[in-house]
C-alpha cells in the first residue's frame, strides 16, 4: 500500500549522505525541546501531507555531517487509532528514517518506555534519549544509564534538553550508530503466554499475504491489538476465506490487548528494576508538593484566578499600549503615503493609504497581543501548568461536551478571538476542537467590548453599566447553551472520554518558547494576514466607489438592501451598514455610525427605540466575527466549517436581535 507520507520527507533527504533522524516520543517528554535545540531556526513547520497535524522538519550539522530531523507527533503508542499515531508509525515504516531517536522522560520512565516497546518492533534502529534527568533527580529518582543500555540493548543517552546538556552526546551517538561503530541489538517485548499460540496462528495465516514493507509478526500483533488500519489492509490482501478465519480469531480474542500491554509492562518492569532507584515511600517529589496546592479544589482555583489575572494584566499593560502605538504608526504611514501619492488619482492614493496600509496596519496591530498570548500559551504548556488548568475546569466544560483543554482558548477570546482560534490547537481531539472553534467567536473580544462601552451610555444613560454587564452575561449564557446544544444534537458522535496526563512540573525553556512564538506568529502573518489584507482592500473599495462618498457607496447600497431585515429589528439602513463594516474590524461600527449620523450623542438615541437599541447591541455582540477571526477560522478548520460557523452566528445574532426587538416592543419599550 502506497502511503502518502512517503513523499513527506524534506528535499534534503534526496541529497547525498544526509542521515535522517526521526524523533519519536510520548507527549510532554520534551521532544520538541530537543528538536529545537538541535535545529534552531533551521526548521520548517508545515502540515503532514493531507493532514491537519503539524509537521516539523529541520537540519543540523555535527562534525561536518548533515542530519535531517523529522519531529514525529507525540503519541502514547503506535496503534492507528488516532491520526497522530498513524502518521508517526507510517513515517517510520514507509519513510524509513536511518535512526529513530526515542525520547523518554526519565522521571516517568516506566510509562514513557511503553512507546519504546512499540518502536523496537519497527525496522529502524533506535537510540534512547533519556531526557529530563534533572526533573527525575528533583523527584528523587536515580537512573543508571549504562545499566539501562545493557538491559535494553540499544544506545542510551542521558540528557537535559531544557538546559542544553547531552544534546551533543546524543547527536554523536546517532552518528556512531549510523556509521556502524556501535550496535543496536534490542531486547524486544513479546506477548504473555495466554495469547502466544493465537498470535502464532494469526501470523501463520497471514504470512504469505502481508504486503511490503510490513512484517508478518508485527501485522499479526497489531491485528490482535484491534488496529483498524491493519484490519482493513489484511482484509483487502487476504483471500476471503482466510480473512474470515483471522477475523473469527480476532473476535474471540478481543481481550488479547491485555496480554500484549501486560507483556510490555512486564518487559518495562525488568528494565526499571535493573536501572532505577526510586525515592523512599512517603517522600514527596516536587510535583506532588506543588500539586497538593495547585490542583486543590479551593486553593487551585484561587491560584488559577491569580494566574489568569496576571495574564490579562500583562496583556493590557503591555499589549494595549503597544497596539495603540503601532496603530498611530500605521496612521502616520498612511498619511505620508497619501502625501507621496498626491500626483496619482485620489481614489488610488486613498486605496493605498486606507485600504491597503489600513488593512496591513490592522494585521500589524494584532501582533503585540498575539505574541503575548502565544508566549503565555507556550509557558503554560511548557511548565506543565496547562494540564492543571484543564483538570480544574473540566467539570464546568464537561456540560458543553468539551473538556478542560478548551477552557484556555475560550478565555483568550476575551482579549481577541484570533489567538483564541489559534489556541484551539492544544486540543487533541478533532471534535472537541471544532466545537471550541464554533463557540469561540461568541466570547466578546476587546474590540466588541469597546463598541458596547461607547454605545450603551448613548442609549441607556445611567443604566449603561448594568446593560453592558447583562449583555456580556447573555453572550456567555448563549455560548454555554449553544455548546450544550451542539454537543447533544449536531456534533454528537463519539464522546471522547477525558483522560489526560498531568506532566511533572519543570522550568520552561526560553528557546523553545521563542521558537513557538516565532513560528506561530509567522504562520499567522502568512496565512491569515494575506486574507485580512485582501478583504480589507475590497471592503474599502466598496465603501469608496462609485462616488467617493460613503453615503453613496456600494456598501451603503448593500445596507439599503438589508433594510427589510433591519425592519424586523427596528434598525434603519445606517445601522445595518455599520454592522456590515464591523466585519472589517469591530471598532468600525463606531466610525461608520459617526459618518452616517454625524453627531452620535444626539442623533443615535433619536433614531432608535430602546428595544431597537438593545437589539442592535445584541446583534453586534453575537454577529459574525471580524475578517481576521474568520480568516483564522478558515485557516484552522477549512472552508466547510467556516461556512457553518458564519451561518450559525448570522442566524443566531439576527434571530436574537429580532426576538429582543419584538419582545421589547410588545412590552412597550
Amino acid at each position: 500500500m502506497a502511503s502518502p507520507l512517503v513523499n513527506s520527507s524534506p528535499p534534503e533527504q534526496t541529497a547525498a549522505k544526509t542521515t535522517v533522524i526521526a524523533l519519536a516520543g510520548q507527549p510532554n517528554v520534551g521532544k520538541s525541546t530537543i528538536f529545537n535545540m538541535l535545529t534552531g531556526l533551521n526548521q520548517h513547520v508545515g502540515n503532514w501531507p493531507g493532514k491537519t497535524v503539524a509537521q516539523k522538519t529541520g537540519t543540523c550539522t555535527h562534525d561536518g555531517q548533515k542530519f535531517t530531523l523529522v519531529d514525529l507527533p507525540g503519541t502514547y503508542s503506535l496503534t492507528a487509532n488516532s491520526e497522530e499515531e498513524r502518521i508517526a508509525r507510517d513515517y517510520i515504516i514507509h519513510g524509513r528514517p536511518d535512526i529513530v531517536v526515542a525520547v523518554v522522560d526519565a522521571a516517568i520512565l516506566e510509562r514513557s518506555l511503553y512507546l519504546v516497546a512499540e518502536l523496537l518492533l519497527l525496522p529502524s534502529p533506535v537510540v534512547l534519549a533519556l531526557n529530563m534527568m534533572d526533573v527525575a533527580e528533583q523527584e528523587g529518582i536515580k537512573i543508571e544509564p549504562q545499566v539501562l543500555e545493557a538491559a535494553l540493548g540499544i544506545p542510551v543517552v542521558p540528557l537535559c534538553a531544557a538546559r542544553g546538556t547531552g544534546i551533543q552526546e546524543l547527536i554523536a551517538t546517532v552518528e556512531s550508530l549510523s556509521a556502524g561503530e556501535i550496535s543496536c541489538q534490542p531486547q524486544r517485548p513479546t506477548i504473555l503466554p495466554g495469547h502466544q499460540a493465537i498470535l502464532e496462528k494469526i501470523r501463520a495465516l497471514i504470512e504469505d499475504s502481508v504486503p511490503v514493507p510490513y512484517q508478518p509478526a508485527w501485522v499479526a500483533l497489531k491485528l490482535l491489538e484491534g488496529d483498524d488500519e491493519m484490519c482493513t489492509l489484511m482484509q483487502d490482501a487476504l483471500p476471503e476465506a482466510i480473512w474470515k478465519q483471522v477475523h473469527d480469531l480476532l473476535y474471540q480474542h478481543e481481550d488479547a490487548i491485555l496480554d500484549i500491554a501486560g507483556a510490555r509492562y512486564q518487559w518495562i518492569g525488568r528494565m526499571i528494576r535493573a536501572a532505577v532507584v526510586r525515592p523512599k515511600v512517603g517522600q514527596l517529589g516536587m510535583t506532588a508538593r506543588l500539586d497538593s496546592v495547585l490542583t486543590h479544589p479551593v486553593w487551585g482555583t484561587v491560584a488559577l484566578l491569580a494566574v489568569l489575572g496576571a495574564v490579562f494584566w500583562l496583556t493590557y499593560t503591555l499589549g494595549t499600549p503597544l497596539q495603540e502605538w503601532l496603530g498611530d504608526l500605521v496612521a502616520l504611514l498612511a498619511e505620508s503615503t497619501r502625501g507621496a501619492l498626491a500626483g496619482m488619482p485620489t481614489w488610488f492614493a486613498n486605496l493605498c493609504a486606507d485600504g491597503i496600509i489600513g488593512g496591513a496596519g490592522m494585521v500589524v496591530t494584532f501582533l503585540p497581543i498575539l505574541i503575548i498570548f502565544f508566549a503565555v500559551l507556550a509557558i503554560l504548556e511548557d511548565t506543565g501548568y496547562m494540564a492543571r488548568i484543564a483538570y480544574l475546569t473540566d467539570r464546568v466544560m464537561h456540560t458543553m461536551g468539551l473538556h478542560g483543554k478548551s477552557f484556555i482558548p475560550l478565555l483568550l477570546g476575551f482579549g481577541c478571538n484570533v489567538p483564541s482560534i489559534l489556541g484551539t490547537r492544544i486540543i487533541e481531539t478533532q471534535r472537541a476542537r471544532l466545537l471550541t472553534v464554533l463557540l469561540a467567536p461568541l466570547v466578546p473580544c476587546t474590540a466588541r467590548m469597546a463598541v458596547i462601552i461607547v454605545l450603551t451610555p448613548l442609549f441607556f444613560g445611567d443604566m449603561a453599566g448594568l446593560v453592558a454587564w447583562g449583555l456580556v452575561a447573555a453572550a456567555l449564557a448563549i455560548l454555554a447553551l449553544l455548546g450544550i446544544l451542539l454537543h447533544r444534537v449536531i456534533l454528537k458522535g463519539e464522546q471522547v472520554a477525558f483522560i489526560m496526563e498531568l506532566p511533572l512540573y519543570h522550568l520552561p525553556n526560553l528557546r523553545s518558547i521563542g521558537l513557538y512564538v516565532w513560528h506561530n506568529t509567522l504562520a499567522f502573518l502568512q496565512k491569515a494576514g494575506t486574507i485580512i489584507l485582501g478583504v480589507s482592500a475590497i471592503i474599502w473599495l466598496l465603501s469608496y466607489f462609485p462616488t467617493g462618498v460613503v453615503t453613496e457607496s456600494y456598501l451603503t447600497l448593500f445596507g439599503h438592501w438589508l433594510e427589510p431585515v433591519g425592519r424586523w429589528m427596528g434598525l434603519p439602513w445606517q445601522m445595518m451598514t455599520a454592522l456590515l463594516t464591523s466585519f472589517i474590524a469591530k471598532e468600525n461600527t463606531i466610525a461608520t455610525l459617526s459618518i452616517l449620523y454625524g453627531d452620535l450623542e444626539t442623533a443615535l438615541p433619536a433614531a432608535l427605540t430602546p428595544s431597537a437599541a438593545l437589539a442592535f447591541l445584541v446583534v453586534q455582540l453575537l454577529f459574525i466575527p471580524c475578517v481576521a477571526t474568520v480568516a483564522t477560522i478558515k485557516q484552522e478548520v477549512g472552508n466547510r466549517w467556516t461556512l457553518v460557523s458564519l451561518l450559525l452566528l448570522l442566524g443566531l445574532s439576527l434571530g436574537a436581535g429580532v426576538l429582543v426587538y419584538q419582545v421589547g416592543t410588545l412590552l412597550g419599550a
Binding site: R111, Y114, A261, G262, D291, F498, E501
Partner: protein
Amino acid sequence: MTLAMASPGEEVRLTAIHGGQRMRKRLADLGLNIGMTVCVLQHNGHGPLLLAVKDSRLALGRGMAHKIRVELAN
C-alpha cells in the same frame, strides 16, 4: 467496587474494564491495565479523579472511572 467509588489515598488494583477494545487499549497505553495498581490522589465526589499511575499522574473523567472495576490493593 468501581474506581469512581475509591477514596483519596486508597491504593487499588484494576480487576475489569467495561468498555470496547479501543477504550481498553487507550487505557492500557497510559498504564491502566488489568492487574495493575493505581493510587487515588484526589477525588472529591464530582469532576475528574486524579490518579498516580506508574510515576505519572493522570486525570480521569468520572464517566470512565465508573467503568473500571477495582479492589483494594492491601
